[in-house]
């Protein structure tokens, strides 16, 4: 199962061109949803106005080298390892989900566009990455979402209460999970049975909800968050610091304060 390209097997019943059109349609939905989100929330306008304000308050002009340094630090720390989430299960779950999703999506695009022709031979690495990515997304996403249930319950809400903020994570889990089940059933070669086809439909519907719901879900945070992290670190470097005070260098006799208690909210 892990080394077979599920999209190649699917070409027996669906032409590759339809799969490719579907992927392009999903990418178009992301673009449309994100643009609508930007127009509605005016967050990009806010972002650039804030950057302009920060530039005015800057105490230091950053050279190109400085900017590259800040950018690389942001990519390595804030973006690649989501350091703002601190150490702990929340960060671990997020990193698992993030890399799982990236692997899942990249390998999907590669396999659908490059390895669905009848003459093509899929290298083992791509199906392995696809299955591993889906698995990581399911584990990371479920870890995140089910721990969240504890908070929901502790706030006197039924644990199964689902709100709009859950749309992204649940659609992501559903996409990966249904994809995995569909691939598994397809590999079992059930002949004329309909099991794998049902899960293929679930997989398609989950994808439509995930990518069609960009405007209503938290999907676009994966574009905004890196931008905000870069701006935050640039503001620290150029001295504007979003009006924050500089790091303290007061007398040492101040001593150590206590470490803040971990929040009970996940």
């Amino acid at each position: 199962m892990f080394t077979s390209n599920p999209f190649y097997i699917l070409t027996e019943s669906i032409a590759p061109i339809f799969m490719q059109i579907f992927v392009i349609l999903m990418i178009a939905l992301i673009v449309v949803g994100t643009v609508m989100d930007m127009i509605h929330k005016k967050n990009v306008k806010y972002f650039f106005e804030n950057a302009k304000k920060a530039k005015k308050n800057a105490t230091k002009v950053l050279s190109t080298g400085d900017r590259i340094k800040v950018l690389s630090k942001t990519i390595v720390s804030d973006i690649a390892t989501t350091s703002e989430l601190g150490a702990g299960k929340r960060r671990a779950a997020h990193v698992m989900g993030m890399y799982g999703t990236i692997l899942f999506w990249v390998s999907t695009v590669v396999m659908v566009f490059m390895y669905t022709n009848p003459s093509s031979n899929t290298p083992n690495i791509w199906p392995i990455l696809w299955h591993a990515g889906a698995l990581l997304t399911v584990i990371g996403g479920c870890w995140f979402w089910f721990f969240l249930r504890v908070d929901v319950y502790s706030e006197a809400q039924p644990w199964y209460r689902i709100i709009k903020a859950d749309l992204f994570v649940l659609a992501l889990i559903a996409t990966s999970l249904f994809g995995l089940i569909w691939s598994y059933l397809q590999n079992m070669d059930l002949g004329s049975r309909w099991d794998d086809k049902v899960f293929l439909v679930f997989y398609i519907v989950a994808n439509l909800i995930l990518f069609g719901g960009v405007y209503w879900s938290k999907f676009a945070h994966m574009f905004y968050k890196p931008g905000a992290a870069i701006q935050k670190n640039l503001a620290e470097a150029d001295g504007s610091r979003d009006n924050l005070p500089p790091e303290a260098d007061g007398p040492e006799q101040f001593g150590l304060g206590i470490k803040r208690e971990e929040p009970k909210h996940y």
């Binding site: 903020a165 938290k218 009006n243 005070p245 101040f254 150590l256 304060g257 929040p263």
Partner: protein
């Protein structure tokens, strides 16, 4: 001056939700970020401002008497035991303060006053409070001000 959250900095960790004595810091149902659901019930205690690990919470005056433009921001550095405030007025004046974090772990370091010696009359009349000057991290006496300086008055 009530609190508000910079959505670009907030990661929805919930520190502010737990610490808010007024229970008005909540996690938004659409974007899972913190928000002040009732700014006019804010006690202005700044607990959430200080607790936020991402410096995502700021304060602002109500629009009817304090149009925006000022800023009150805080940086809490637990590893240094320091808390710094930067207050920016609308006319551009800036004030910076650095103070120690004096919070103690819950239930610990409670002074055992009942076991301490009963203060004598001299100690009762002294300006020095219990545990001073040691509690101020100084072994010297409290600083004194020459009262003659008061006669000069205060001029702006």
């Amino acid at each position: 001056m009530s609190t508000f959250v910079y959505m670009t900095r907030c990661d929805g960790c919930g520190h502010c939700v737990d610490i808010c004595p007024s229970d008005i810091m909540h996690i938004d149902e659409n974007i899972r970020r913190a928000k002040n659901i009732e700014p006019n019930f804010c006690w202005e205690c700044y607990s959430c401002v200080k607790a936020c690990p991402n410096h995502a919470i700021d304060v602002r005056g109500y629009a009817d008497f304090a149009p925006m433009g000022h800023s009150v921001r805080v940086r809490r550095e637990e590893e240094k035991g320091k808390i710094s405030w930067r207050i920016k007025f609308r006319n551009g004046t800036e004030k910076n303060f650095v103070s120690p974090i004096t919070t103690k772990p819950w239930g610990k370091h409670i002074p055992k006053l009942a076991e301490a010696d009963t203060p004598n009359q001299g100690e009762m009349q002294s300006q020095i409070l219990y545990n001073e000057p040691h509690g101020l991290n100084t072994d010297k006496d409290l600083p004194t001000i020459n009262k003659d300086t008061f006669k000069k008055g205060v001029y702006y």
